[in-house]
Symmetry: C2
Subunit: 291 residues, 2 copies
């Protein structure tokens, strides 16, 4: 890949905006080499005025951007990524690297296979940056920090090794310090636990307490556990339902553990409970070291 | 209460140590006016060497400290607070203000009533600072920050208003910016939700996943939700079982909400799920404003 490549961002929401900032500020891509397309003209104008991107395109003119870009980041919700790929697959620049940021990967990988990406002119490498913020939209994209965050890539069999390597370099330079490669299925199974289950738990915690003054009794735990309940409801609804078989399995496992702890508490089984909590503490401490 | 009062801390663990630091550094109490007693002589020596406290006492000589102090903070686990009060109730300085920091309050208030505090020479005002840290012990007490944290007091009917006011001044000057007064029962009901349920959920999340490499797939949510799983197992076992009737009610409420969300996901009820999550987001946002 030549050094003076052109990069296009599809969708300047929270993540698309954060990518534009990280590419400019951390990676150091020149403004004239960074393009964006979005349905919102005001956001495109703002991004241009802020010195983030040079050329901007309405969504209906996405093809003009795609044909000019060596690398494309599709920063849309999962189903919109698939729609976009299906609609514009003939418009990407031959030899270009295309990636996405959606929180489910098996369906996107399947769509890419179906589109015959193997013979397509572009190389689609599915990805998932493990970063976000409570508030959505381009206006909050400066709140989304990539430094020392995880990034998951689920490369497809036909991805070119040199393209994968180049994409990893870009990701690393934006601040992500741990890039993990797994299959789309493995991604969806792991993420069902670390991300989706956590969002469901946070939501259930808020769902079961209507007293909005309860935070006067908070000591940090409640605030930390429920911050992510301020979620992008349409996007998470889509992700939960898309990955429901793996998510339901994770919810069931969690419910089993919760119930076992409840039984120990209800039966005043102090010795057993303490032993179980000691194991939990050890395991979480070990996880922190690996993190 | 005269200005040059003497304050004694019973138990120099994580919280006792943090109180000593906050009293010295934030409140500005002179070292010669701050005493401590503990079972660990090394910790007492360290606290003295660090310029935190002047006189130190072995636990068996607690009476000598108590008889010299105008204010006493009992920084022990719930059951140990009750044992301590029962053992040393005759040794407190007449007119002194005594408080504790335990995470359950109804049992401690009942013990205080039983001890006949109404006619006791000292005024016992139960309290609960809403602050802590993942790592316990005096050595980690500098990690426990009180600034802008909540503090709950559960005054008893016989507490003298001027003593309550004086205690609140001390607490406020240590950094706590929201002091809430409720009955011991109300405290236990609210805390069952904001603190105990959260610790149980965090523990169940770790309990149901044995892969310690899972943090490679974390994006912050999992880490935030499970940080408190690194808990002081003996203390939390005691708190969970002590407050089990209220805690079990809270776990049941949470399980009901979780199950309802699970049913919506399993049935692919996108519209209903999205609506429910929007309400959750609104409520949590409102809670954040009240926090």
């Amino acid at each position: 890949m030549k050094k003076d490549f052109t990069l296009g961002i599809v969708g300047l929401g929270l993540m698309g905006g954060a990518f534009a900032r990280a590419l400019r500020e951390k990676y150091g891509i020149p403004q004239e080499k960074l393009f964006a397309c979005d349905i919102d003209k005001n956001i495109l104008n703002t991004a241009q005025e802020q010195g983030l991107v040079s050329k901007v395109f309405d969504t209906e003119n996405a093809g003009a951007m795609l044909s000019a870009c060596d690398v494309v980041f599709i920063c849309l919700n999962p189903s919109a990524v698939i729609c976009f790929l299906e609609k514009w697959s003939g418009s990407f620049k031959p030899g270009s690297i295309v990636t996405d940021i959606a929180g489910t990967k098996a369906s996107i990988a399947a769509a890419a296979e179906k589109l015959g990406s193997k013979n397509a002119a572009f190389d689609f490498i599915p990805g998932h940056p493990m970063a976000g913020a409570e508030k959505g939209g381009f206006a909050n994209s400066h709140l989304c920090n990539f430094t020392d965050k995880n990034y998951i890539l689920t490369p497809l069999a036909f991805n070119k090794p040199e393209n994968l390597e180049f994409l990893k370099q870009i990701i690393h330079k934006m601040g992500f310090n741990k890039i993990t490669e797994v299959t789309p299925e493995e991604h969806d199974r792991k993420i069902a636990f670390t991300s989706q289950l956590c969002h469901i738990i946070a939501s259930a915690l808020i769902d079961c307490e209507s007293d909005t003054e309860i935070t006067r009794f908070g000591g940090g735990s409640f605030e930390d556990l429920t911050r992510i309940a301020m979620l992008n409801a349409p996007m998470w609804t889509e992700i939960f339902i898309e990955n429901r078989s793996m998510l339901l399995e994770r919810i069931n496992q969690f419910e089993k553990s919760l119930n076992e702890l409840k039984v120990l508490i209800g039966g005043s089984k102090a010795a057993e409970l303490e032993k179980r909590l000691e194991l939990v503490k050890e395991r979480r401490t070990e996880m922190g070291k690996r993190g």
